[in-house]
Assembly symmetry: C2
Homo-oligomer: 215 residues x 2
DNA sequence: ATATAGTTTAACCAAATGGTTAATATTTGT
DNA sequence: ACAAATATTAACCATTTGGTTAAACTATAT
């Protein structure tokens, strides 16, 4: 019909590749996969979400497996580079911890299902992490490690294994979102109250970590 | 055949209800559901795992949904009462934190997939937590809250919101297991090395938490 | 304008899946 | 020993699901 032709020139003029079929599928797939997981998602549902015929999914991505992979890598690439950037920045350790927790919590508040999705699917298929580690922008904690060790020498912080500290920072930042439904139960809070807790956290977690390690 | 009859009296004599069909199904279902999740699990696979006909699953549990519910409640009942017991114990706060982290890490080392499973499925269906909260032995942090508030008055610990502290303890204890595949990637460790990290953690996490809050 | 290449759809298909049934075997109470 | 109740199985069934195909539609280059 004429609507399609109209859409075409409108897109051409706006230069909106965002609304092209291929990225439309990817975005729809992202929504569905993140909500239902690889095994729970249905190709038909993704097609409906994207407002196109199911055959298009296979036309652009060949199989459910490959479409899922595209979604997963896309989701992971939202998490990892941010982590890398902050961890490798040239700022003092305590400031770095503040920056990291604050900016990561902001991110997760905006995309609360991404960490859950990534961790869930990585548990389903742990071998998949090998592919990721090999990639260019996979986070590396070497710089952070040197920094922590120097702080220990300086007696700025108590002796601690860098890996443990790193795990602690990630745990305190990410877990409250992954475990939200459970934690809302334990703390008897509703959505709004829990959200307020998370807001409070954004400013307080860093201090908790710093208190734990400073001499 | 005679083997079945033999099995019957042997079970009767040993009083091993464990090997009865019904609990056999539950255990098989537990293994499969925990590994693959509700949507990824297949009824046939559960039947195979239990070594019985698929119709038996419906004979004893009616539907996949109900079988899953039985498994979930069973899994959850392994997590929750332990938590309740330690949190409500009549011991000083710092000792309580040590007891909790140590015993919980021991538990999770033995059953590493249980927290992941519970949290994953609770994310899939957050409303399910309502059922749980209503139940008798659902963890309650009131006692713990009183204790924390008293410690703050005493100036034994710095002021902190009890809910935040509770979330922090859980995060530091559970997240390293839920996020294991991802964290093994970030820290560039293999299974054995990561296991060693977890062993070290068992004695060190409590100190991390205590350092963070003590005045 | 027209042939060529790229895009989209409706209709299909085979395999997988949760669930049922009717017949058989086993256990139990008497 | 035997009838009633319970447990178990093989064969089915309807629906769902990922994936395919052939035809129609649209865009592009000459």
């Amino acid at each position: 019909m004429s609507t399609k032709w109209l859409n075409y020139i409108v897109n051409k003029m706006k230069k909106t590749k965002d609304t092209s079929t291929e990225t439309g599928i990817l975005n729809a797939a992202k929504r569905v996969f993140i909500k239902k997981g690889m095994t729970g998602a249905r190709m038909q549902e993704i097609a409906d979400e994207a407002g196109i015929n199911k055959a298009m999914l296979h036309y652009y991505y060949r199989s459910k497996e490959l479409l899922f992979e595209a979604v997963f890598k896309n989701a992971f690439s939202m998490l990892a580079p941010k982590l890398n950037k902050v961890m490798n920045a040239d700022v003092p350790l305590f400031k770095k911890i503040e920056d990291f927790t604050s900016s990561y919590i902001s991110f997760v508040v905006k995309h609360p299902y991404i960490p859950t999705f990534v961790i869930q699917e990585l548990n389903r298929n742990p071998d998949f992490v090998k592919n990721l580690v090999a990639e260019e922008h996979f986070p590396n904690i070497e710089v952070f490690k040197k920094q922590v060790e120097k702080c220990i020498e300086n007696k700025t912080i108590k002796p601690i294994n860098t890996e443990q500290l790193f795990i602690n920072i990630l745990a305190l930042t990410i877990f409250p979102f992954i475990g939200a439904p459970l934690l809302m139960g334990f703390t008897r809070t509703n959505k709004k109250q829990y959200k307020d807790l998370m807001k409070q956290r954004k400013t307080e977690v860093a201090q908790f970590i710093i208190n734990a390690i400073k001499v």
